[in-house]
Structures are given as C-alpha cells and as structure tokens.
C-alpha cells in the first residue's frame, strides 16, 4: 500500500490514475501504460489502499491531534512494540491507536478471507485471538444496545463473556470485560461513576500488543472535564507509576481507548472520553494556540498530492463516511498545537524527506494547509452545510489565511444560504385523541375488553406522565419506577384484540411524540429564529466567551454516534423492555410493519423540472414538509421495528463463530424477515425513491444483531446499499439524477450505518469498485422522488444530527475551548462481495390510469394533488352522506317495522336475533341503491370542488379533464367502499337500532314518554330543584325530629315552599328525572306529615299546630301540584303506607278528617282510583296497630267506602265536627 503512496509521491503515477485504479479496476487500461504497469503489479492491494490511506493520515496526524499518553509514554521505542506495518517501516506507526483500519498482513495474505484478516489487528492472528478480538467488539456493541437495553443487558451480560475465557487469557485491560470494581482510581474530582476496579495490573509484553479495536477517529479526542459520568479518567498519567513501567502505561492507554468507546454506549449524549495526552489548554489561556502560517508549510507538493488523492477518494465515495472525513479535516484545520516531534519520535527528524519516511505533518502549518487543500475540493459539500457552520467556516481566520479564495466562496455561500437549521424544542406530550371509529365499544369483543382498554389507556398515560416528570431526576429508574405497573397492565391485555388496540395507541403516541429529531423536536420544519443572528456578529465574541464559561461542550456522541433513543423515544424503548411481553412485541411489529409499508408506498408528488410557474415554490414548501413528515415517521417506525425485531437476537455475547455460527445461520436463514425490506429497497431503487426508502432502512438495520449481515437476505441489502453509496458521487450532477442534498442525506445515513459495530467491517471495502456497476434499471417515471429537491438542510440535520459535530468543532475553535467531541469509529477490513438480488417484475397499469398519469405529467404537480385530494374527500363524504341519508332512512324503516312486529307479537316480540334477521333480509337489498346514489353524489360534488381549488386561469380543457378524473377517482373510491361494506353497515346500524328500541321497550316506558318542556315565555327563574329538595328535606327533618324547642316552620314558609315547588315543576329547565322523583316522594311525605299534623309550626307558643284550614289549603296545593305539575309518577300510595298512616297513631287526639279529605280529593282529581285506595286501606288492616287505632282505621275505611261521592258541603260537615273528630268517627 505504502508503495502506491510512495510512487504517487514520487510522481511516478498521477493522482487521477491512482483514483481510477482504486475505484475502477477495469479501466486501468485507459491509463498511461507506465502508470498502469506501476499499478498493476500492486493490483492485489488495490482494495486495501483506501483503508491504508486513511490509517496513514490518522497516524500522521497523531502528533497534531494527540491522543496517546503524554510525552513520557511516548518514549522512544514505544512504537516498536506495536505491530509493524507491512510495506512501511514500523516506526511509522507511532500513533498506533490512531489507526483507522487494522494494518494488514503481508500482501500475500491480503486475499484471505475477511475473517482471517481481522486477526491482522493482532500479532498472532490465530482463530482464538480473533474470537477474542471479536468478543471485545461485541462487548461494545452488546453494551451498545441502547438505553434500558443497556441497563438490562449490561447487568446480566457484562461479567460473563464465555468465548473470551475459552482460549484467551483474561484481558484485564478491557474495561468491557473487566469493569473496574471497588475503589475509585485516580481520576478527576468530578467523577461520579463508581469504579469497580482496584488498579490496572501490568500484563505481559504480548498483551500490550493486543490493542483494542482502534478508533476511527483516532484523532485526538479531547474533552473538557465535565461531570458526565463517562468523562472518565482524564487520569494523571504516571501517577503512582514506577518509572519505566512502559507496558503498564500502554495498558492504561488501552484502557482509555476502551473507555473512549463508552460515550457511544450510553444512550444519552455524553462527553466523549478525554483522550488527550497533551495537557489541556488551561482556561486561563496559559497555553496559546500555535498560529498557522502558510509560509511555513513544509513539503507543499507532497501535501498537495496526498490531499488530492484523499479528496478524490472522498469524492468517489471510496471512504465509508464522508462526514467522518470532513470531521477529521476540520480537526486538522482547528488543531491547536503540535506535540514536539523530537519528544515523540526522534527518528523522524525533518531531514528525512523520502516520501513516507518523513512525517507528513511536520507542523500545524502542514495540517492546516492539508486541511484547506482538502476543503477546497469539497466546497460543494461545505456550501450545502447549514448556515451556522458556513458562518463559522467563513470566519475561520486560518482558512482566510491559507485560502482567501475559498474563504470568499464560503462567505458568499453563507450570505446566500437560507439553510438555517433550528434547534428543536422538546415537545410537550400530547395524548392521542380518542378515535371513535376504532376505539368505540363496537370494536371490542366484550364490554370487559372495552373497559379494560379504557383503564389501560389511563394507566399508559399515567406511566407516561410519571416518566415525563421523573426521568431526568438522577437515580430514577424506569424499571424500578414503572416496570411492575407496566407489566400489570400488559397482564390485563388478555384478548388478542386488546393487544392490537393498545399497540395502535402506543404507535400513535410514539409518532406523535417522537416524530421530530430524536424525539426532541417539536416543529419539524419550523422556522426558529437563529439565536446567533439575532445577537449580531459583534456580540458573537462575547457569546462565545460566555459559552466557554458556562457550557461544557455538548456532544451527541461524536460524528458517528451509535443508534440511540434520545428524548421521548427512551420512554417507548423502556416501555417495550419493561413490558417484556411477546404478544405485545408481535402486535407491535405487525403494526409497525404495516405502517411502514403504508408510508413507504405513499405517492409523494414528484418534481416537475419544467414547471416554472410561480406557484412551484409554494408547492415545494408543502411537498418538502410532507416528505419530511413521512420520512421522519418512517425512520422512527423503522427504528422501533428494528429494535423489537432484533431484540431476541441481541445480547452481550460475542457473535458465534465456526460451526456454531453455521448452525445459527442455517436456522436464522429460515426465519422470514419481519418486513420484506429487500424487496422494498429494490423497489425503492427502481422507482428512484431511494431518498425515502434508504434512510428508514438504515434506521432499521442499525439495530440488527451480528448475525444479520451474514444472512444472505440481509447481505444482499448491504450490497445494494454499498453500491448505492458508491454511486452517489456528489460531483456528478445531471438532469433527472438525484439532487445534491438528497445524495448528501443518503451518504450521511449510509456512512453512519457503515460505522455501526454490528455491521461487519469487511463489508465496505469490496473487491469490486461498483461505481459503474450500480446502474438502476429504472422502470419508474423518469423523474423519481430522488430527483426532486425534497431534502433540505433542516431535514438533513434532523436525520443526521451528527453532522452538527462539524459545527461544534468549529465553534469550539472559536470559543477557544479545547474540548473536542470525539466519536466512535471502527476499523474496516476489505473483503469481496456478491451480486445483486433479483429485480421484481414491473407492474402493469390500466390504460385509463396511464392516460391520467400522462395528463398529470404535463401539469403542475399541484393539479394532481388537488384532484387526488378532492377525490379522496368527496369519496369519503359520499360514504358519510349515504350513511346519513339512505342508511338512516333504512334504520327508520327498521324501527317502524320493529314497532309493528312488537305490536303484533305482543310485549316480548320474539327473539331479538331473529327479529334482526327478518329486518335485515327486508332492508339489505335496498343497499344496492347506494352505488347509484354514490355515483350521483360524486358527479354532483367533485367538479365544483376541483373548480374551486384550481386557479381561475386553468384552461377549460384541463379543468374538465381534471374534473372528470376527480369524479372518476371519487366514484371509484366511494363505490369500492360501498359495494364492500354497505350491507355490513346497514346490518350494524339496524342492529343498533333494534337493541335501542328493545331497550326502550324495557324497564321504564313511562320515563321515556313525552315530556313537556317549559313554556316559551319561561325565563327559567324558578328556584333550583336541588334547593327545593334541600328545603323540603329540612322541613321533613324538623318534623321527624329531633329538634330544638325553638325550631319550627311558619305556615307562610310552607306555602311559599309549595309555591316554589310549583314554579320549579313548571319551569323544568333544571329538572332532571331523579330530582323530580325525589321531589314527588318528598311532597308525599310532606302531605303525610300534614295529615298527621306533625309539622311543628312557629308562632306564639300556644299555637303549635297548624290550623285545619291552613293544612287543608296546603293539601290542596299539593293535590294540584300532583295533578297538574308533576310529569313523572308520584308515589301517592305511600300516603296509605303503614308508616305514614302510623304517624297518626302518635297524635292525640287523633285527627282523621284531613286524611279522609285527602283520600276523597285524590279520587276526585282522578289521582288515585277508589279501588286502589281500597286495596291500600285493606292492606293497612294487616299491619299491627294498637287496638283503638285499628278500630278507628276500620271506621275510616268504612266511612270512605260508604260515601262514594262526597260533595263539598259534606266536607264542611266534617269540619263542623272537627273538635272531636275521633269520637265522631267512632260513633258513626
């Protein structure tokens, strides 16, 4: 590899030839024969060139971006213990940890199987060692199972890593395998994570070679010490170390290395491990940045050449991750100071100029020069970054110094940029609204299921709210706080149908809360004011200083964070984990898959390049927004689908190897994928909708377990993605091809995916350079979604927040803070690939549809949207209209038929099910009218709507075509629904009507009778029923006692009360049936008390009894109320209940005349029949009374029966004998 680079540097071959050589082996012949000859001998190495180049650059930069231990550790000879690099002197590998890719074995082994090559990382590439190495990675990725997964799996998984112990001695340096236990090792004071390890023990010399997996960003990851738990061990090097304990220091270095991976394991963004070997520049500014000077660049030509090769590799997408390289370049650009070369490696003195023998970057000037050279080649990408980054770049003084031209272009780009990326606000949780169509009783198998779901909904939101309140509190634990409640709730979901209801709720809530970036964004595309621009440029410096003082550098986990569940998503993930219900997971997967298919297949409007109307801008705003919503939803759903689908297979164990792996592969290849993503991807590529399909697919795959990429099915997918990645050359822009930002989005997400630990590192560097091989057989419209400018910076940054790391890097440079966000990188070993999967056949379309399609093709996209919208709405309205008219009529018919049935068959009316059948058989045939009515409705309504929505100026022919299409589509939609569902609909509605009618026949026919409202003139000023009940209750309790001696009511009050009662009963505005019932009953009680003369009257002490006349007047009022005003039944028979009549027994002397009066009036007014009263009186005799009372009662009864119609005068006669009524009665 180095040979290639060397021959390049010696100018034996041209950069173009090298790039061609790397990218497209087949075209080597086009090159200059000399070059071709020089390169062809190196042919077997071709695929290793890029990893080599990247490693080389990382190594070379290690002094500028120092990350190893501070100078003492870099003692001469330290690197001698590090693995030698084939083709290059071992001393060149000074910053071994900075290697991106494992140095490969001798060229002869290069063609070996990828697995073997991985072993190259270690000196002894035996299989056991490989397993160990792999296991280590697994530890990382197992941990990587984000969030609560981390919690659960970490607890159970981390201590045991069986495969490691098999053949490898314990790797004590590996924090994953041997988390520290016990005392807190020397570390920064702010450290919060309890250490579980006593002290690192030096291990054998060989151990020191077992370097942990190298980090892709080997560039110096430095961090301002923060209180973040993961900001571990910025440990004072050499503290307590015996001098000369080099290997221990190396062990420590490895420790740090491992720890550096931790940020990507924690679900929340954390500050990356401080890797800084060099002392942190102190805040006080004791260490100043080295100024960079273009004049002091050494070996310009060499740097230019390497920069050119490097840039070409980036441009050709030969590097796995574009943004990672940009990040690296930005790091070089903002490098602060150089570790003195002499200290670290005296052998590499500047005197040695023979290409690779001398360090590439000998000073900060070199670094900056190189960086600027690379950036110049990628201006196009830079100019498409967000405005904030552009501003920072344009204001970077180094850039200005080294390339005023680039700076000028960047400034122009900044000024022209509208790509403000807003910082999203966390949304407040909003509940999913109750959906009558799906949530009502009819959709549940039983009342119980319905009510259970009702409760579950409440529990779910209770849990959600609790999470919202507490999840940010330290020490709060999801599982501890909510786990049991969630499981109890899941336990109640017995019926399968309840599960689907709950899953629907869950999914909707998920979409609602987390649609935006990482669940932390409210408005997806909202225009948030740019804080910086509001402050104004002059305030910027101050702001930065403020930032320096107040803020630790934020990091979202570096430029390549692992998949996480930020914000609200964490709740849903933890919920799934805590619920640990396989039914729930299955239903969830079903539901997610369905929704993904639905959204993925959504017909998104396509770009019309010819459309130059003024409206197109407006349209595009809407279309972008729609696309963004769909894309973000898809990504979210796919992420959760991937999470749940691969959950059973993910664990902390390392992936199996050998036979075990074969058997697992054999087993897993039998399992059908949860969603046929391969087909969806293939279709997406064919239909030129990669920009929609790939981002969500990446989310899905990011949760795959280690076995997945080895399965043929998924391997095909990865190869497709790889080819796509290679084909997305940003500089190639042509009509009808993918838009720049679309490409950028795909490159960003794919680059990210290729860094996920579970994705095999050998996947990327394939034998084939498939940039030409990727030719999509497009069958789809000429201009697919890919060619439409659907992605803007906001969406790009929303989907790939890690691109923001670039801006942070620049911001940190400005702020002078030395904290730099590092990220997780991984090595990649080249390998070979297999071919593409089969292409699905093309679907046929009807001629009519094709015509319509052709019509829309020549019209602005808004026309199509309008027509589709109108058709959709009118179709839907049509169904509603049919429901409200035809079906409602049929239901009315059903009701009247049912009434007839009930009349003819008597009260019972027969079996309801049978009745229903009869009715349905009569009525359902009428449903056939629905289609005709529906057609008529659509014909009537659609054209008007289309006309109203289209511009006035639309040509008549276009308008009428659009109208016709709208009518056709609406009719199609409505009729399809109606013909499939009308019978069922009628049935359902008739059934509901039957049960309603039958219920109405049931218990309370009287209560359902016609009720009079209050009169038109009524102003509803009557006393409130509650007040009256309360007042009457007071009178009753007074009468019943106990009471104080001074208590009583005045007759006037009683009269007033009854007057008010009358008003209330006549007004009825506030009267509800139960209140009326109680009023009726109370009035009867009151009458009984009046009759028995039990009401204590206020007045002069002597007059404790109500005058007869007054009592009678009151009774008259009551009688009239009962007769005229009560609309419900009045329990008048209670007047003759033993208890009420018994009241009379207590009065001395007994007064029977009022009772007799009352009974006669009741009969007179027709309130009670004589027979009824007789019956009551008869039953009274059966009760036990004192002897004399029974006699008097019998007399009363006889008296009442004997005088059928007592006219008014005779009543007076009664009055006359009032003084001693009892005697009179007895005599008569």
């Amino acid at each position: 590899m180095a040979a290639v680079l060397e021959s390049l540097l010696r100018e034996e071959v041209s950069v173009a030839a090298v790039v061609r050589w790397i990218a497209r082996s087949t075209r080597g012949s086009e090159d200059n024969p000399g070059e071709a000859a020089a390169l062809s001998s190196l042919r077997p190495l071709r695929k290793e060139f890029v990893p080599f180049l990247l490693n080389f650059l990382r190594e070379q930069s290690s002094r500028v971006l120092p990350q190893g231990p501070p100078t003492p550790a870099k003692a001469p000879g330290a690197s001698a213990a590090l693995p030698g690099r084939p083709g290059g002197p071992s001393r060149g590998s000074r910053g071994a940890r900075s290697q991106l890719f494992p140095p490969t074995e001798a060229p002869s082994t290069a063609a070996e199987a990828p697995l073997a090559r991985r072993g190259g990382r270690r000196r002894g590439p035996g299989p056991a060692r490989e397993r160990g190495g792999r296991g280590l990675e697994e530890g990382v990725s197992g941990e990587n199972l984000p969030g609560a997964g981390g919690r659960r799996l970490r607890g159970s998984g981390s201590p045991s890593r069986p495969s490691l112990t098999l053949s490898d001695p314990p790797n004590l340096s590996n924090l994953e395998e041997f988390p520290p236990v016990g005392s807190v090792p020397p570390g920064p004071a702010g450290r919060t994570k309890p250490s579980r390890r006593i002290n690192p023990t030096p291990v054998s010399e060989e151990r020191s070679l077992s370097k942990p997996k190298t980090c892709f960003t080997s560039p110096p990851i430095s961090c301002v010490p923060s209180s973040q738990p993961s900001a571990l061990d910025t440990s004072p090097w050499g503290l307590g170390l015996p001098p000369g304990c080099r290997s221990l220091q190396e062990e420590r270095e490895m420790l740090r290395k491992e720890r550096s991976k931790q940020p990507q394991q924690s679900p929340t963004p954390t500050c990356p491990t401080p890797e800084l070997g060099s002392p942190l520049p102190s805040r006080a500014g004791s260490l100043t940045d080295e100024p960079a000077d273009p004049a002091r660049v050494s070996s310009r030509q060499r740097l230019e050449l390497v920069a050119l090769v490097y840039s070409s590799c980036i441009a050709e997408n030969l590097v796995p991750n574009l943004f990672l390289e940009l990040f690296f370049v930005f790091q070089l650009l903002t490098a602060r100071r150089m570790v003195t070369a002499k200290d670290s490696d005296p052998e590499l003195s500047p005197g040695v100029l023979d290409s690779l023998e001398s360090p590439l970057f000998q000073s900060i000037h070199d670094c900056v020069f190189f960086a600027v050279q690379v950036l110049e080649c990628h201006f196009q990408v830079l100019s498409n970054l967000d405005k904030g980054t552009l501003k920072l770049l344009a204001e970077n003084e180094r850039l200005l110094c080294f390339s005023p031209a680039l700076q000028g272009r960047l400034r122009a780009a900044y000024e022209g940029s509208v790509a403000k990326v807003s910082l999203a606000m966390p949304p407040s949780a909003q509940a999913v609204s109750f959906q009558p169509e799906t949530d009502n009783r009819a959709n549940f198998s039983s009342d119980r299921a319905f009510h259970t779901f009702k409760k579950q909904r409440d529990v779910f939101y209770e849990v959600l709210r609790e999470w919202e309140d507490h999840h940010e509190e330290p020490g709060w634990d999801f599982e501890k706080g909510l786990g049991s409640r969630i499981r109890a709730m899941m336990g109640q979901l017995s019926a399968a149908c309840s599960h689907s209801h709950f899953v629907r709720l869950f999914q909707k809530q998920l979409l609602q809360m987390c649609q935006s970036p990482g669940g932390a964004g409210g408005t997806v595309l909202g225009e948030a004011p740019d804080v910086l621009s509001m402050l104004g440029a002059d305030k910027l410096g101050r702001l930065w200083r403020l930032q320096e003082r107040l803020m630790a550098p934020q990091s979202s986990g570096g430029p390549c964070p692992p998949p996480t569940f930020p914000g609200c998503q964490g709740f849903f993930r933890d919920f799934i984990l805590s619920a640990s219900s396989f039914q729930f997971n299955q239903h969830l997967m079903d539901s997610l898959s369905l929704k993904i298919r639905e959204l993925n297949g959504l017909a998104l409007p396509q770009h019309e390049p010819n459309d130059e109307d003024g409206e197109s801008d407006v349209d595009w705003q809407g279309e972008r927004r729609q696309f963004a919503v769909v894309l973000l939803s898809l990504r979210l759903l796919a992420k959760f689908l991937g999470f749940v689908a691969f959950l059973p297979y993910r664990g902390p164990e390392p992936p199996p190897t050998g036979e075990l792996q074969d058997s697992i592969l054999a087993l897993r290849s039998q399992v059908p994928p949860v969603l046929d993503v391969r087909t969806l991807l293939q279709r997406g590529l064919q239909a030129r909708r990669a920009v929609l399909t790939v981002p969500w697919l990446v989310e899905f795959l990011s949760f795959a377990d280690h076995v997945v990429p080895l399965l043929d099915y998924y391997r095909d997918i990865f190869i497709l993605l790889l080819r796509l990645h290679r084909s997305l050359v940003l500089s190639q822009e042509s009509e009808g091809k993918m838009c720049f930002l679309n490409k950028l989005l795909l490159l960003a997400v794919l680059g990210w995916l290729f860094q996920i630990p579970t994705v095999p590192e050998d996947l990327f560097f394939l034998e084939e350079g498939p940039s030409d091989a990727f030719e999509v057989d497009t069958i789809a419209p000429e201009h697919g979604l890919d060619a439409a400018p659907v992605v803007d910076q906001q969406l790009l940054y929303t989907c790939c927040p890690y691109i923001g790391e670039l801006r942070k890097l620049l911001a940190l440079w400005v702020s002078g803070s030395s904290g730099r966000s590092g990220g997780f990188m991984r090595k990649i070993t080249p390998t070979t690939t297999t071919g593409l999967g089969a292409q699905p056949s093309r679907t046929s379309q009807g001629l009519q549809a094709r015509l319509a399609h052709a019509f829309f093709h020549n019209q602005p996209p808004s026309l199509r949207r309008t027509v589709e919208f109108v058709a959709e709405r009118i179709g839907s309205n049509c169904v509603k209209h049919i429901k409200a008219t035809l079906v409602a009529d049929l239901v009315r018919q059903a009701e009247s038929l049912l009434q007839e049935q009930l009349v003819t068959q008597g009260e019972e009316g027969g079996d309801p099910a049978q009745l229903l059948e009869i009715l349905c058989s009569q009525l359902c045939p009428h449903g056939a009218q629905a289609l005709a009515l529906g057609r008529e409705f659509c014909h009537r309504k659609s054209p008007g709507a289309v006309r109203a929505l289209l511009p006035e100026e639309t040509p008549a022919a276009v308008l009428s075509s659009a109208e016709n299409i709208a009518v056709g589509l609406a009719t199609e939609k409505a009729c399809a629904w109606l013909s499939a569902n009308i019978t069922a609909l009628i049935r359902r509605e008739v059934k509901a009507a039957v049960s309603r009618t039958l219920r109405a026949q049931g218990p309370e026919p009287a209560a359902r009778g016609e009720r009079r409202g209050c009169s038109r003139a009524c102003e509803h000023h009557a006393p409130l029923p509650s007040h009256l009940i309360s007042e009457i209750k007071d009178v009753l309790s007074l009468a019943v006692g106990p009471r104080d001696p001074d208590e009583g009511v005045s007759p006037e009050h009683l009269e007033q009360l009854l007057g008010q009662l009358g008003q209330t009963l006549r007004c009825r505005q506030f009267l509800c049936p139960p209140a009326e019932q109680h009023l009726a009953k109370c009035s009867v009680d009151l009458a009984s008390l009046l009759v028995a003369d039990q009401i204590p009257i206020l007045g002069p002490p002597a007059q404790y009894r109500l005058e007869r006349g007054q009592a009678r007047r009151l009774l008259h009022m009551l009688l009239s109320l009962w007769k005229e005003d009560f609309q419900g039944p009045v329990p008048l028979q209670l007047l003759l209940s033993p208890r009420n009549v018994g009241l009379l027994a207590d009065t001395r002397p007994r007064e029977w005349d009022l009772l007799l009066f009352l009974l006669r009036e009741l009969v007179e007014k027709g309130l009670m029949g004589r027979m009824e009263i007789e019956a009551c009186l008869g039953s009274l005799h059966q009760a036990q009374w004192p002897g004399d009372f029974a006699e008097e009662l019998a007399t009363l009864s006889n008296l009442f029966l004997a005088e059928p119609h007592l006219p008014e005068p005779q009543l007076r006669a009664c009055e006359l004998v009032q003084p001693n009524r009892g005697t009179v009665l007895a005599q008569s």
């Binding site: 909003q430 509940a431 999913v432 609204s433 109750f434 009558p436 949530d439 009502n440 009783r441 009819a442 319905f450 009510h451 009702k454 909904r457 409440d458 779910f460 939101y461 209770e462 709210r465 509803h1020 409130l1024 029923p1025 509650s1026 009940i1029 309360s1030 209750k1033 007071d1034 009753l1036 309790s1037 007074l1038 019943v1040 006692g1041 106990p1042 009471r1043 104080d1044 505005q1069 506030f1070 509800c1072 139960p1074 209140a1075 019932q1077 109680h1078 009953k1081 109370c1082 329990p1131 209670l1134 209940s1137 033993p1138 208890r1139 009420n1140 018994g1142 207590d1146 009760a1183 036990q1184």
Partner: protein, 271 residues
C-alpha cells in the same frame, strides 16, 4: 368564594368535630352553602378514614344490640340517630348498617344491595315499622350521606350542567353534550366537548366539566385521577369549573397541576 389553602384548613379544623345533622349545622349560619360544602367534604374524608372501624362484625353487633335495647325502651326516641352521633358515624350509613343487620336476622338470604338501597329510598318498605321510622329519621337528618343528599348532589350537578350549556349556547360555542358523546361510543365523557376549541387565558380548552362541590385540593386530586386525566388522555385539555354561589366560576388548571386558578365571570368573558 376563593379561599386560600390556609383559610380552608382553618375552617376544616373548626368543623372537624361537628356531626353532620341539621341541628348541629344550624350553627353554621354564616355563608352557609360554602361552609356546608367544605364541611361535607371534610366530613366525607373523615368517614372514609374511619369507615372500616364501624364495619367490623363486633362493632356492627354492638351497634345493633344498642339499637335494640334503645327501641325497646322507647321506640319513638331518636335511638339510631343518637347512636350514630355518639359513635361519630354518618346517620344514613348507620341506618344502612343496622338495616342490613336487621334483614340478615329476619330473612334467610342475605339482602341484596339493591333491596337495601330501595328500602333506604323508601323506608315504608322496611318490614319493621319502628326501624322504618328510625331509618327515615336518620336519612332526613343526615346532611352528608343518604339517598336524599345524593339526589341533591346529582340535581346540583345537573343544574350546573344546564347553566353551563346555556352559557355556551349564549356565547355561540358549539359543543357536544355527554349524551351525544356516549352515542358516539366514547368511553369517558366530560360534560361538554367544544366542537371548536377556545382559548382561555392562553390555554386551549377542548372540554368543560362542571363540578358543583367545593374544589378543595383533595377532591380536585381525586377528580384529576378519576376524570380529568382520563379526558386529557383522550386528547382533551379542558377546564373543570366550580361555581362559588355568586355566579362566578373558578376553573382549576389542569395539566400543570393546580396552577393559577382563574376566575371566569358568568358568561365566559375571559374566552
């Protein structure tokens, strides 16, 4: 009337020893409705706390014996009511207790709840005349429990709903009532769902629920749990409204707990 928490506590303290009868409550003649409402709520809390101790079989037995002894001595005396006051239990609940016990003794099968309720509503159905009178006395004298009080509460709720409906109609705010919501199949229904949401002091209001009882913290929390959150869970923010007897409405903020209460004049001028 809006009371501070401290004022409320003070009042509640004073009311704590009062039995829930008409006679004792006569003394609360000042601002009677509000005090009664506070008292009622405090008393209900008290009963909830002590309910269990009156329901042990020993307690029931001893109450029943005391009742029997009492009525044997004088059936016309308020035996049951006095007993309830003496042991600090709601008269209606005491009546129910004794009635249940009585029926157990006199009928073979244990009385069903509906039979008991029906007898409490209409004591004439109680086979024993003396007991019927005693029960009736308890019920008409109890200001916090019993079928009559329940009916009053229900009626108040209904009246407020009607008032609210009138206000909504008057203000031209289209709404769906509880019945319509039920017909649509909704599982939990506030009094009114506004068809077009309105903003009240910057908060979006979808529903309004009228609560007639005095809105102390405890009852608010209970309502929150039972009803308000349920509405919220169905995507409705709204306001529960309490009437203070002067035609003013006190709304109780929802999702942020008991935020700032706002006073709405009758007629929703704040809307």
């Amino acid at each position: 009337m809006i009371l501070t928490k401290a004022q409320y506590k003070e009042i509640a303290q004073c009311l704590v020893s009062v039995p829930p009868t008409r006679q004792s409550l006569r003394k609360l003649n000042q601002s009677r409705a509000t005090l009664l409402s506070i008292f009622s709520q405090e008393y209900q809390k008290h009963i909830k706390r002590t309910h269990a101790k009156h329901h042990t079989s020993e307690a029931i037995e001893s109450y029943y014996q005391r009742y029997l002894n009492g009525v044997v001595k004088n059936g016309a005396a308020p035996v049951l009511l006095d007993l309830a006051n003496e042991v600090d239990y709601a008269p209606s609940l005491m009546a129910r207790l004794i009635l249940e016990r009585f029926l157990q003794e006199h009928e073979e099968t244990a009385p069903s709840k509906s039979v008991i309720n029906s007898m409490l509503r209409d004591p004439s159905q109680i086979p024993d005349g003396v007991l019927a009178n005693q029960v009736y006395q308890c019920i008409v004298n109890d200001c916090c429990y019993g079928p009559l009080v329940d009916c009053i509460k229900h009626a108040i709720g209904h009246e407020h709903e009607v008032l609210l409906r009138d206000l909504l109609l008057e203000k031209n705010l289209p709404f769906l009532g509880e019945d319509q919501l039920r017909a649509k199949g909704c599982d939990k229904t506030p009094d009114f769902i506004l068809q077009v949401p309105v903003a009240v002091e910057g908060h979006i209001i979808h529903w309004i629920e009228s609560k007639a009882s005095f809105g102390d913290e405890c009852s608010h929390h209970a309502y929150l749990h039972d009803q308000f959150w349920s509405y919220w869970n169905r995507s409705w923010t709204g306001i529960p409204i309490r009437e203070n007897g002067e035609g003013k409405y006190r709304d109780v903020r929802l999702h942020a707990g008991l935020e700032k209460p706002c006073l709405l004049r009758k007629g929703f001028r704040g809307v």
